[in-house]
């Protein structure tokens, strides 16, 4: 009996060590990213280094300085005072309330949905790496479940899927859940690395990488919008975008970004998109789930 217990303990420890070792690099990346953003938004004194094109008025009056950790779940509204004020006004009557209600109804009435997702507070646990399938995003999991139960009209980008995700995100937020993406195998670590490479790769005729806007460019202004940071990006999806006049998933937003880079966009269900989301999800690990939310 003693031997069995010791063996189980050893096996458990080994499994834990292995899981940790697969995410060693990703943890380093996430810590460095957080350190970068905390330094960037620490103090008005850093402004000339990080925001060379911002006006004195913007830096003095529109920026909030000294932002740390969890505050980044708000995206650009963590540091953009003007944007935050507009956002808070809209949140008095959130335009996505009906979507959450619809999501709840879909969860309760769609055949098989409760069986696929016994606990709706799972928004922070995706994307997952599943052996034999690769990266599975929350949109993937929902659409697959609907298909398995012979349901039609479920897309990866909007509509019923986004509504159900809104319900899941809201349930997760209410329970105080955090983003908890796991890298638990060599294959998962490789998928993470591929997603990371794509995130930092310049693409399209504009030769922009995702990082150009959302790492080095975060906080800078493009036309009248302040660019949001990668750290905290996945916490608040699905989002109701004023441009869309509706709710959309992370897949939908990435397709738009990819198009803006001047490239033929990758399909929302492609391995490219899924692995990019896997990397982005891991970068927000530990931050509270804060969706659904509103964005311009």
């Amino acid at each position: 009996m003693k031997k069995k217990i010791i063996a189980s303990l050893l096996l458990g420890s080994f499994a834990l060590l292995s899981a940790n070792s697969f995410s060693t690099q990703a943890d380093k990346d996430r810590k460095a990213l957080q350190a970068y953003f905390e330094k960037k938004f620490a103090d008005r004194k850093n402004a000339s280094t990080y925001f060379p094109y911002s006006t004195k008025d913007e830096l003095d009056n529109n920026f909030k300085w000294g932002i740390k950790g969890d505050e980044f779940r708000l995206g650009s509204y963590a540091f953009d005072k003007g944007g935050r004020a507009q956002h808070d006004e809209m949140m008095d009557m959130p335009p996505f309330e009906d979507n959450i209600d619809n999501g709840k109804e879909l969860y309760e009435k769609t055949p098989g949905m409760k069986k696929c997702f016994p606990n709706p507070a799972i928004a922070g646990d995706y994307p997952k790496f599943v052996k034999g399938k690769g990266v599975v995003t929350i949109s993937d999991a929902i659409v697959s479940c609907a298909k398995d139960n012979k349901q039609k009209g479920w897309k990866l980008t909007k509509g019923k899927t986004a509504d159900l995700e809104a319900y899941f995100a809201n349930a997760s937020k209410e329970k105080g859940k955090k983003i908890n993406v796991v890298i638990n195998s060599k294959e998962a670590a490789a998928a993470y690395e591929r997603g990371k490479k794509e995130y930092y790769t310049q693409r399209g005729y504009l030769e922009l990488s995702c990082a150009t806007c959302h790492v080095q460019g975060a906080g800078q202004r493009v036309r009248n919008d302040i660019l949001s940071p990668l750290f905290g990006h996945t916490t608040h999806f699905p989002v109701y975008r004023l441009k869309w006049q509706g709710l959309g998933t992370l897949e939908r937003r990435i397709k738009g970004c990819n198009k803006n880079q001047g490239e033929t966009p990758h399909k929302p269900g492609s391995t490219w998109t899924k692995e990019l989301i896997y990397f982005m999800g891991y970068m927000s690990n530990g931050l509270p789930v804060d969706g659904p939310d509103i964005r311009k």
């Binding site: 380093k28 990346d29 810590k31 460095a32 990213l33 350190a35 970068y36 330094k39 960037k40 990371k196 490479k197 930092y200 790769t201 310049q202 693409r203 399209g204 005729y205 030769e207 990488s209 990082a211 150009t212 790492v215 080095q216 198009k259 001047g262 490239e263 033929t264 966009p265 990758h266 492609s270 490219w272």
Partner: protein, 138 residues
């Protein structure tokens, strides 16, 4: 059977790498100069490299028009001996039409095809330079 499959996969990879390497060696301004080379030669460059860009998922697209549509439209204009290129495309399920001078469209499709592969190759060396904690110092 396995050996044949492996050989085919390896062959395709080598062919793919070959096209990227070929594109990387080109001077875009020279090979895509329509005045110096003529529209037909410039189009041939685009036709050689753009399918590879599509395969690698790095094809360029501007204002709703994929580069493969430029290739097709330029080819049709040259065949019909027209000086104007007509591109038909779809944005959010709505049909649209745009017209361009032949020389401009030929230059555009050629630079897009070559540059997409060059950028793909350059990325191997440059992507880490933007990673905080890796190549990007802050």
């Amino acid at each position: 059977m396995k050996k044949i499959l492996l050989a085919s996969v390896l062959g395709l990879s080598i062919a793919s790498a070959g096209l990227v390497e070929d594109a990387a060696k080109l001077d875009v301004k020279k090979v895509c100069d329509v005045k110096a080379n003529g529209a037909a030669k410039v189009l041939a460059v685009a036709k050689k490299f753009n399918p590879e860009a599509i395969k690698l998922g790095v094809e360029f697209k501007r204002l709703g028009i994929r580069n493969k549509l430029y290739v097709k439209a330029v080819e049709e204009a040259i065949k019909a001996k027209k000086k104007e290129v007509v591109i038909k495309y779809t944005v959010k399920k709505k049909d649209k039409v745009k017209k361009f001078p032949l020389d401009y469209a030929a230059w555009r499709t050629c630079t897009f095809a070559v540059r997409a592969l060059q950028l793909h190759k350059e990325a191997d060396k440059t992507w880490r330079l933007a990673v905080p904690g890796d190549g990007y110092k802050f």
